[in-house]
């Protein structure tokens, strides 16, 4: 557990560095806001509409695939710890081959149906 105390310390220190830098900037940086300066930058043109425009999220299929494989990957890590166990070994290898094989089959199916092409 001791390691995670250091992790907490690093995160707290990181926030402190960020806050300290903000204070330094507040003390040193000039402040002269004008209407034109605060306008949204659109290569010198007056902004048309607002920035929170709807975008076409074409990669939702990738996102689904990603979630499936990410869960798969999480199961792989505990296996790394026990693979040298005498009682597991070959049976675990076969089980893992079936597990990954089913997912690869799904990926191959997605590829065959053209889902891995963006446009």
């Amino acid at each position: 557990m001791a390691g995670y105390i250091v992790l907490g310390g690093v995160i707290v220190l990181g926030i402190l560095v960020f806050v300290a830098a903000a204070v330094v900037r507040w003390l040193l940086a000039p402040k002269a806001p004008t209407y034109a300066k605060l306008k949204t930058y659109e290569s010198g043109m007056d902004p048309i509409g607002e920035g929170w425009a709807q975008t076409n999220v074409r990669y939702f299929v990738y996102a689904f695939l990603y979630v499936i494989f990410a869960v798969d990957a999480v199961y792989l890590f505990p296996w790394a710890n026990v693979i040298r166990d005498q009682n597991l070994g070959v049976p675990a290898l076969v089980e893992m081959a079936i597990f990954i094989g089913i997912i690869v089959l799904g990926l191959a199916h997605a590829a065959r149906r053209g889902l891995l092409r963006w446009v």
């Binding site: 690093v10 995160i11 920035g51 990603y66 990957a73 990926l107 891995l116 963006w118």
Partner: protein
């Protein structure tokens, strides 16, 4: 662990975090310049412009801090911290010598991946809060990139963990042997490509493509907030180069490892960082869909093949 020791370790990690990216940045200045037939910075600090990045930081602090009127101010302000601090946390887990590590945890290979995955949130927050179309597109590209590179990287790391039989980065280095260079080569290539995409480096710098969308999610950022995003990028190079060294190049393994171990780790990581700079000079930018195709059609199958190869060799030679 005493409070004092925890404080010293945390300060050491943050100090390394603030110094190592400057070394990589200066390396990039000089390497790029000489590859392009220029000299690079020569004046700041006197000798070959060694203080250029310190001078840059002093300049950034004095720049006016502009928050666009349309922006979501609260999110806009904290986004650079969200982009930066995960790399700090990631660096804390990476050992650079035998027993020399900031946060010594049992599953550090897993923890470092978890920490690095958070950084993209800073880009998304900054891009969304800017209320700018360029920023929005950049942030969306960054998020799209995440679902492409994250998996090959995780699978490649899982393969090394499998080979070493431990999830601890220190444990992986202790188990490492030179023939792993060949055994884990497909995984190493996959990891390197995925790492380039993770830190938005050429040829995968679509989220900040300066010739298309100004500077992506950072378009509306100025002064020190912008500098923090840049620092996060260079800290990303440091973390990825160190991680590659520890996972695939045996970390501190080398002649006189007992006394020179740290030097070997940093030297190997520096060479990897120099290769990442080299990629920037010599490769054009891919399109977002090309990255996806590369990741799903090539990287993930190769990573899975590596995983199978590793598992079979481990079980057969046990």
């Amino acid at each position: 662990m005493s409070v004092l020791e925890a404080v010293i370790r945390s300060v050491a990690v943050v100090a390394a975090f603030l110094v190592l990216p400057l070394l990589v940045g200066q390396t990039e200045h000089k390497f790029m310049a000489h590859m392009q037939g220029r000299l690079g910075p020569m004046y700041a600090g006197g000798w070959h412009g060694w203080a250029q990045l310190i001078a840059d930081a002093a300049k950034f602090v004095q720049k006016e801090d502009v928050i666009p009127a349309a922006a979501d101010r609260g999110v806009f302000r904290i986004a650079p911290a969200v982009a930066l601090i995960p790399y700090m946390a990631g660096l804390a887990f990476i050992p650079i010598g035998d027993g020399i590590v900031g946060a010594d945890v049992p599953a550090s290979a897993f923890a470092v991946l978890a920490a690095l995955g958070v950084g993209i949130l800073g880009h998304l927050m900054g891009g969304w809060a800017s209320a700018n179309k360029y920023s929005m597109i950049g942030a969306m590209r960054g998020a799209a990139q995440l679902v492409a590179y994250e998996l090959p990287m995780v699978l490649a790391v899982a393969s090394v963990a499998l080979a070493a039989g431990t999830l601890s980065l220190s444990g992986i280095v202790e188990q490492w042997q030179p023939w792993w260079l060949l055994w884990q080569l497909p995984g190493a290539i996959v990891f390197f490509i995925a790492a380039l995409a993770e830190i938005n480096r050429t040829p995968f710098d679509m989220p900040i493509a300066d010739s298309e969308i100004v500077f992506g999610a950072f378009t509306e950022y100025t002064g020190l907030r912008f500098a923090f995003f840049l620092l996060a990028e260079y800290a990303g190079i440091v973390v990825m180069a160190l991680l590659f060294t520890v996972l695939y190049l045996g970390g501190w393994a080398g002649p006189l490892a007992a006394s020179l171990g740290v030097v070997w780790t940093l030297l190997k990581a520096w060479i990897i960082a120099a290769i990442i700079v080299w990629m920037r000079v010599s490769w054009p930018r891919l399109r977002e869909d090309q990255l996806h195709r590369l990741a799903w059609v090539w990287l993930i199958p190769i990573a899975l093949f590596q995983l199978a190869l590793t598992a079979v060799v481990v079980v057969m030679t046990r």
